[in-house]
């Protein structure tokens, strides 16, 4: 492994000035569960590793003014153990409770999971289904980018040199809505998904009709994607099995998976068809149970 200098700034301003000073010779590190392995495998060879672990204020989970805010340095384990996330943003709980292992979830962060920009990131489909925005800060200011526009390709995103993701924002959860994520994998732990499927559903008052819907797919394209046609099909339609199954077929047509060691193209597509309705039904169950409480 190549040797590097390990820098530990304590404020974002310090981070920005270190990034400017060292430019391409530097690599930002959050939990490090991706970056350290890339350095060990010689896919990365930075001279400077800039750690975000000692910058204060990046690890809050809070619901304020109608917005859910999750700091980029929040560990997956903190999300898994947060009653707020488990009860109201359940797709994110579904994802963070099966990502890696306890040991990995204690270190790895949601910001790192998104910034590595792997098509298999477990937190990406839930965040897309929750309509999340990415808060990005840099030396010259702040910008907010919808997660749907954040990715440019496998391992690529819109972050400019010197920019840092500080937070994710999502609309506050509603009693009439719920979300669910399914990670299809061979092993129960320490595995990447063959595919990942997240569904968000908002129902009418009597629970008979889908008023709003978002469907997100992981490992079904070079980047995590929304299945927009399937969403359109759900909106305004009865919240029943027939509708959900048609949405699954539409999402399967929209998916563009590839053959890989982890799964064949046809299998991934077929599992989208199966899992979209399954997650939609799970959303309905969750909405019904939270309305009873």
């Amino acid at each position: 492994m190549k040797k590097f200098e390990y820098l530990k700034p304590t404020t974002l301003e310090e981070v920005f000035s270190l990034l400017e000073e060292h430019g391409e010779k530097a690599k930002l590190i959050a939990g490090g569960t991706d970056v350290v392995i890339m350095i060990k495998k010689k896919q990365l060879a930075p001279d400077y590793v800039i750690s975000l672990n000692n910058v204060a204020g990046l690890d809050n989970i809070a619901e304020t003014n109608g917005v859910l805010r999750i700091g980029s340095m929040v560990r997956h384990r903190a999300l898994e153990n947060s009653p707020l996330i488990r009860e109201k943003y359940t797709a994110l709980y579904d994802a963070t409770s099966v990502l890696g292992s306890v040991q990995i979830r204690n270190i790895a962060t949601i910001g790192g999971n998104i910034c590595t920009s792997a098509p298999s990131a477990d937190t990406a489909p839930p965040l897309l289904a929750l309509d999340a925005q990415v808060v990005i800060k840099g030396g010259s200011g702040e910008r907010v980018v919808p997660l749907t526009n954040f990715y440019l390709g496998a391992g690529k995103n819109v972050l400019a040199p010197g920019e840092v993701v500080t937070e994710f924002e999502a609309p506050k959860a509603l009693l009439s809505a719920a979300s669910a994520y399914y990670k299809l994998s061979r092993r129960a732990a320490l595995d990447l998904p063959i595919i990942g499927v997240a569904v968000y559903l908002r129902l009418s008052k009597d629970h008979s009709c889908c008023e709003d819907a978002r469907i997100a797919l992981g490992v079904c394209a070079p980047i995590p994607i929304r299945a927009l046609e399937a969403e359109t099909l759900l909106k305004g339609s009865p919240a029943d099995n027939e509708t959900f199954e048609r949405a699954g077929e539409a999402a399967a047509r929209e998916a563009k998976p590839r053959d890989s060691v982890r799964g064949a193209e046809w299998y991934r597509r077929d599992m989208v068809r199966v899992l979209v309705p399954r997650m939609a039904r799970r959303c309905v169950e969750r909405i019904k149970s939270q309305c009873k409480e």
Binding site: I37, K40, S101, V102, I104, N106
Partner: protein
């Protein structure tokens, strides 16, 4: 470059010159000669290097040593009692045949220790979830789960 860091290791404040690009596991093994934590995969996937940092189980093979500064690190060596008596988890692994070749054992016990600190009376499912990051290629896990279950019962008695 070498840098000086200080942290609490198994209850004692330590200070050491370390290579700043090293991972914690290398420093524990090579500089402190604590060889209980082991390198299996070197990528955080097998759990053999599990140690406890600030009460949380982590894979020390991918944990930059510089992040240990000021933290409280526990390794399997820190489990021994004052008179070298075994920790209830260690005793239970012995009594219930939770050890075969032994390579995974230190990591497995440290993962179990972190689990019991968080949840002193886990169900079998919670135990399996808690040690899902630790691979054992010998036992088939049944005796390991039983060892942890019996240890949790022994501690509560």
């Amino acid at each position: 470059m070498k840098k000086r860091i200080s942290f609490t290791l198994n209850g004692t404040l330590v200070e050491k010159e370390v290579e700043e690009s090293a991972m914690l596991l290398e420093v524990l093994r090579d500089d402190f000669e604590l060889t209980g934590a082991r390198e299996g995969c070197g990528q955080g996937e097998c759990g053999a290097c599990t140690v406890i940092i600030d009460r949380k189980a982590v894979t020390s093979c991918i944990y930059p040593v510089m992040e240990a500064e000021g933290k409280e690190v526990f390794t399997i060596e820190g489990l021994l009692g004052k008179n070298n008596e075994l920790h209830p988890l260690q005793q239970s692994f012995l009594d219930n045949a939770g050890v075969q070749c032994g390579f995974c054992t230190s990591g497995m016990i440290m993962a179990a220790k972190a689990l019991l600190q968080e949840n002193p009376h886990p169900t079998e499912e919670e135990i399996r979830h808690g040690i899902a990051g630790n691979i054992c290629r010998c036992t088939g896990y049944v005796q390991i789960v039983e060892s942890i279950k019996k240890a949790s019962e022994a501690v509560s008695k």
